[in-house]
Amino acid sequence: MDFLIELLISTLIVVGGIFGLVGSFGLAKLPDLMTRLHAPTKATTLGVGAVLIASMAHVLWDEGRLSLHELLITLFLFLTAPITANFIAKLYLHTEPNLAAKLPSATTEYGWANFDPPPRSGDDEPDSLTGPRRGD
């Protein structure tokens, strides 16, 4: 039994390592910033996830208690990874020359938030992001 658990844990760690490596390799290999962003936001998630599961399994088997820090790390990772990626994507939209003209246009008359100002409050709009605030 000991052997099986150890095998499971080491497999998870190796899988985690492989995905981490692939994510970093993709970062170097893919052609431009937007495609490069795909590699680290995804491939590394599973890499870190596998290592965290291995860590939980190890603590559970070795010390007989449930460790919850790993779940918190996953939570923080899921909170921070998309936001960081979004910041970098926004930076790309700003720095790439003539990109605004090449983007597909939004479904309504307003453009993308990076380039166009939001509709003024008072326009006849339902409750969208810029809708009337309560309590004022």
Partner: protein, 179 residues
Amino acid sequence: MKPQPGGGRDGKGSRSLFARLLPHPLLTLTVIVVWMMLLNGFSRGGLLLGLALGIVVPQLTTAFWPQRPRVRRPLKIAEYVLVVLRDILVANVKVAYIVLFRSNSQLRPHFIVIPLEIYSPEAITVLAGTITMTPGTLSADLSADGRSLLVHCLDTGDRDGEVAGIKQSYEARLKEIFE
């Protein structure tokens, strides 16, 4: 968004004791759960401190929460999390495959536009985050009026299918949860 009882700053005197003590019950619960997870073990003292934090933190930060997210169907969140986890698993393998075995010239990266049917900022934030974490897609920008989302695809031959897939598997579920 309709005002909730005890949610806004309107009429301080009319708010009930419960609303004054816990201006944001959901945040209180989150703070307590995260605190207990940080402690990584159960103790009565720890729970008491977590409870105190859960009451003090929302009170101090209440000015930053002009609108509270409403969660209509909490049970649907579990289903959503499972769907997203499965998709993340698939996404990882798919992106790893593309990185390792496709040459750059074979990639078909595109920007696509997703018209939004959800209005609550929390739902849109969760949707944008989910899109970034799942197969070959990355949310890049929101339109100025918050009605459509700009998404970058790593490799796609079928842009309309991609949009329909995201709307069906994530947006429809978020609409049920938040609105």
